[in-house]
């Protein structure tokens, strides 16, 4: 049970840390520190079991149907990385307490840091490839957030984006790679995969899987050609650089290569890909590091080159090289983290990281200087420090791999050794010489506990360097054993192996590096050059920017080519596609249909013809005679409703009738605000031929599309009835849904969840329309009052709408319509109540209700109605949604799935036996939402006219109306 706790703890505390106040520095540090420290102790307690060769596993079912389990798995390698993550994490937290300035919002920092820690633990503990890829991406995300911590700085934003783009793309490659790998093996479980190395290496898909996984590892570990993101990531706060970009996250790439080493390594492709990238990286990184001016830049390039060194060792692929790789991973983490912290101290205490102006700091901060010099010694490979040991192993392996004839690898290794001594010298140069006087701040030693992490890490460098067999041997053995298993190589961790070639190479590198540094100082002073010589033209960052801008230009181009903001082209494409699809798929099979007119009632045919003619004429008139088109559309709607009834679909017919009415009112309300169209004839202008052609095309397309769709529907109706799902519903409506009206039972019970979604959408649409219309300002030409209301002869012009209905010309209509209101409401209630058993239901009842209210609006105007009736469309909406939702949730109380229906049989005193299905309340919610949203939309449109009357002058300028 310890493993899941170890994983969840950082994430949980990350949330806690995020919730603390901005000035809770000490509490944040205590929280993060205790989490790391406690976890570290927990991990340490596993050491005896790990040393016994045990693999600790924790499994939980994740997606058992797909054979995926959530597996946490700790072996020697994972244990080592966990110690690195937690141990250095603890030191970084302590360091960050002093480093972060009081203005920085620390909750965000520590929250991200803890989340990163959790993600990283997830990567190393994953016992499942998919899970590993998920945590992998999570480290990319948290790294992005941490690099961009100072998001007011452009370089931080740029660096964060670059790092994220590169590492997350690599993560996607990795994901694809592990999916292929899982396919080859037949399981995603790491233990199964690790045991299937022979099967994988001969598989046809081995190379794609290898390539994708290696791409993931190379991007994460900043290997050539993806190394460019790491120097830009130095915009992060220094604790982040020390933690993520030297000790842990960039090690995830090499961790992955180690993890999958038993499966993937040992082939020529592996060696070429991994070792090739590694050699390029270590050469470029170590050479570029010499010519940096920023201390952190130097350390970043040095990190790149050391990671390249580890990658080369993994690429070589011999068991001893693997030992060296793991050993160097540990060593690099210790000395590079301490160097980053030292760089941070210098930055913090002097205000600058520029090596061109920093001089003689040894006099002001002697202890820090000593620590940094020792750590740089480890970086350069000075004997009696840990870096020396692993670098010597590296030299030995490069000689081994080339044999007696091929020396290029050894030459590259030696060159890298020389360069690393040179840049170490360049770095420690800031501590020597005459003290610089013109620094932003007066340098002095940092606080005691800020230096403590550096001291501890440097002490570790020394201990490992002097007494490797006593200190690190067992840990290293465990890690190597976890990778290599039975075929453990014999190796000897000792400082002195006698005088041999690797030792000679080490010494040559030291001497050569020192000479090279002197030569550089004399002949080519790095301080006076802004570019890295020779290779500055091959800028990865520039290539990245080019690719990104190319992508964005390409995307813009595609949007311009295929996208549009106008609705006409979109509709054109849709209708053309529909016509084409019906023509291609439907017409060939239409020959098999029986004679379409055999059973056609001539009267029914005539009715259909009326509807069709109305529809076509509506399309014809839509451009210039909108009102006529609207009336014609109404004619089509009536015919459609009657056709529904003729074909025995009363539910549909009832709803269609009401929808027709509401649509007419809605369109008329909108028509008020559309500027009038004047025909070309009235304007006495010639219609251009192209315009005429376009309109003709649109008209023909509309008619063809409509005809084809109608024909398809008709053809479907002619087909003999087959076994469809409708029988299922018809049979079960009463027995399981408790209602005889299958349509309504279908809506509120069988497919209640669909209906729930639909009413939610309806409510959202109504609210959106309302929100949009609140800020709607009509076009200036339709702002004026309609001419009917300005005619001085009309006595109605002096009356308010309410008055007109009370005693004016609308008196007859007023009496009649007000009398009708209760009847309409009663009819709505009737339709609603019997909806479960006979045609009706919440939807149509809601529409009738809304129409009854809208009628009053039309009669007496918005102000009068709202003065007499307290309508609250929002409450209708909200209550409806709550009722529907609560009905669904009610089933949970009784232990049934969401929206399970239940029929209650009540014996009421007067009414007799009454059966109340729970779907009734659901239908009530639907009713309420329909009423609310219909009223909301119509009233929002109607209020436009009140608002425009309130506008100050009719001819006021558009700008003042905006303000009003």
């Amino acid at each position: 049970m310890l493993l899941p706790v170890l994983l969840i703890l950082p994430f949980a505390c990350s949330v806690i840390a995020a919730c603390m106040p901005a000035d809770a520095r000490n509490r944040e540090v205590w929280l993060a520190g205790l989490v790391s420290f406690g976890s570290l102790i927990g991990v340490a307690s596993l050491f005896p079991r790990i040393s016994a060769g045990e693999v600790i596993r924790y499994e939980a079912a994740w997606m058992p149907a797909y054979g995926l389990d959530f597996v946490l798995r700790v072996d020697g390698l994972a244990w080592l990385f966990m110690v690195l993550v937690l141990g250095i994490g603890l030191l970084v937290v302590l360091y960050a307490h002093y480093y972060m300035s009081p203005e920085d919002p620390v909750p965000r920092f520590f929250s991200f840091l803890l989340a990163f820690m959790g993600a990283m633990l997830g990567v190393v503990m994953s016992g499942n490839l998919i899970q590993l890829a998920v945590f992998w991406e999570l480290t990319s995300v948290t790294s992005f957030l941490l690099i961009g911590y100072w998001h007011h700085r452009a370089d931080a934003r740029r660096g964060a984006r670059m790092a994220f783009t590169v590492t997350a793309s690599g993560g996607l490659c990795l994901f694809a790679g592990v999916v292929i790998l899982g396919r080859i093996v037949g399981s995603y479980d790491l233990d199964v995969v690790l045991a299937a190395g022979d099967q994988v290496r001969v598989h046809a898909l081995y190379f794609p899987a290898l390539l994708l996984i290696v791409l993931g590892a190379l991007t994460k570990s900043a290997q050539f050609p993806f190394h460019f993101w790491l120097p830009h990531a130095m915009a992060a706060p220094t604790p982040v650089s020390a933690y993520l970009h030297s000790a842990t996250m960039v090690k995830a790439g090499v961790f992955l290569l180690m993890r999958l080493w038993p499966v993937l390594s040992g082939t020529e492709e592996w060696t070429w890909l991994v070792a090739g990238a590694g050699v390029c990286t270590l050469m470029i990184g170590s050479f570029a590091a010499i010519f940096q001016h920023d201390i952190k830049g130097l350390l970043a390039y040095s990190t790149i080159s050391h990671l390249g060194l580890i990658t080369v060792l993994l690429g070589i692929g011999t068991p001893l090289a693997m030992v060296a790789a793991i050993f160097h991973t540990i060593n690099h983490a210790t000395f590079k983290a301490s160097l980053f912290m030292a760089a941070g101290i210098i930055d913090h205490e002097t205000g600058s990281r520029d090596m061109r102006i920093l001089r003689g700091l040894g006099r002001h901060m002697p202890i820090t200087a000593t620590l940094a010099i020792v750590a740089s010694g480890a970086m350069a490979g000075v004997p009696l420090l840990n870096g020396f040991l692993s670098k010597e192993m590296f030299f030995a392996e490069t000689m081994l791999v080339g044999g007696d004839t091929n020396w290029w690898m050894s030459v590259a290794a030696l060159a890298m050794g020389v360069f690393s001594v040179t840049y170490s010298l360049r770095f420690i140069n800031v501590f020597f010489g005459r003290p610089q006087v013109e620094l932003p701040r007066e340098p002095h030693e940092p606080p005691r506990w800020m230096r403590f992490p550096v001291e501890l890490l440097v002490l570790l460098c020394l201990i490992v360097g002097v007494l490797p067999a006593l200190s690190i041997d067992q840990i290293l053995y465990n890690a190597v054993y976890a990778v290599q298993g039975a075929q453990m190589p014999a190796y000897d961790l000792a400082v002195w192996h006698g005088f041999n070639v690797p030792l000679a190479m080490s010494l040559a590198a030291l001497v050569g590096g020192a000479l090279f540094y002197r030569l550089l100082r004399r002949r080519f002073n790095p301080d006076q050059h802004d570019h890295v010589p020779l290779i500055h033209r091959f800028s990865g960052a520039q290539a990245y920017e080019n690719v990104m801008s190319g992508l964005s230009i390409g995307a813009d181009f595609l949007i311009r080519l295929f996208g549009t903001t106008r609705i006409q082209p979109q509709l054109l494409c849709m209708i053309v596609a529909m016509v084409a699809m019906i023509a291609v798929l439907g017409l060939p099979s239409s020959r098999h249909l029986a004679d379409p007119f055999a059973n056609l009632d001539p009267l029914f045919g005539l009715l259909l013809a009326i509807g069709c003619i109305c529809a076509v004429a509506a399309a014809w008139q839509a451009k210039y005679h909108r009102l006529a088109a609207l009336a014609l559309l109404g004619g089509t709607g009536i015919v459609v409703s009657v056709v529904f009834l003729w074909l025995s679909a009363p539910d549909l017919a009832l709803t269609q009738l009401m929808v027709e009415t509401v649509t007419t009112v809605l369109l008329l309300l909108g028509l008020r605000w559309l500027p009038p169209r004047i025909t070309p004839k009235e304007l006495a202008i010639e219609v251009p031929r192209s315009v005429w052609l376009r309109r003709s095309r649109d008209f023909v397309l509309a008619v063809v599309g409509g005809t084809l769709l109608a024909g398809t529907t008709y053809a479907i109706l002619l087909r003999p009835a087959t076994d469809t799902i409708s029988d299922f519903f018809l049979l079960r409506a009463l027995s399981e849904g408790g209602g005889t009206n299958a349509v309504n039972v279908l809506l509120v019970d069988f497919r209640g969840f669909d209906t729930m979604g639909e009413v939610t959408v309806l409510a959202a649409v109504a609210l959106t329309v309302y929100a949009l219309l609140r800020r709607f300002r009509p076009a200036p030409e339709s702002l004026t009052q309609p001419e009917q209301q300005t005619n001085p002869v009309d006595p109605a012009i002096t009356q308010t709408p309410g008055k007109q209905a009370w005693s004016g010309y609308l008196m007859v209509a007023g009496v009649y319509l007000r009398l009708l209101l209760p009847f309409m409401l009663m009819f709505a209630a009737y339709l609603f109540l019997r909806g479960h058993n006979l045609p009706g239901g919440g939807f149509v009842a809601g529409l009738v209700f809304a129409v009854a209210i809208i009628l009053q609006y039309m009669l007496a105007g918005a102000i009068w109605v709202e003065g007499h009736l307290n309508l609250r469309p929002f409450r209708w909406l909200g209550l409806g949604l709550i009722t529907a939702c609560a009905t669904g949730l009610g089933a949970w109380i009784f232990g049934y799935p969401f929206l399970t229906s239940h029929t209650l049989h009540l014996d009421l005193p007067v009414l007799g036996e009454l059966h109340v299905p729970s779907a009734f309340f659901f239908d009530l919610g639907v009713f309420s939402v329909v009423v609310g949203s219909t009223m909301l939309i119509l009233i929002a449109l109607a209020h436009q006219s009140i608002r425009s009357h309130r506008q100050p002058g009719k001819n006021a300028e558009p700008g003042t109306q905006e303000a009003a």
């Binding site: 009738l657 009415t661 309409m824 009819f827 009669l859």
Partner: protein
């Protein structure tokens, strides 16, 4: 005998109603004024109501009478809206 007569009468009535709808269609199409179209639409609604009653008789179902009732109750709403629009220039003042 009486049943035959009834069905004959129903068929004739249906035919007349559909022909009336055809006449409404002509008015809807040619106009000439907007008021003509509104009247035509109103008549179309009424014809539809009658047609539904005829259908109800033909199929012997009570549901059809409710559909006719619904038209009787709310069918005029479109007409009112159109008339209001023509008379006052906007539907809701």
């Amino acid at each position: 005998m009486l049943t035959d007569l009834l069905s004959l009468a129903m068929g004739f009535a249906t035919l007349c109603i559909v022909l009336a709808m055809l006449c409404c269609l002509v008015r809807l199409l040619v106009g000439p004024s907007a008021q003509d179209r509104v009247l035509a639409l109103d008549t179309l609604w009424m014809c539809a109501m009658l047609l539904i009653l005829m259908l109800g008789m033909r199929f012997g179902s009570l549901i059809y009478f409710e559909a006719a009732l619904l038209i009787a109750l709310t069918g005029f709403v479109s007409t009112v809206a159109l008339a209001k629009f023509l008379m006052r220039g906007e539907v809701i003042e």
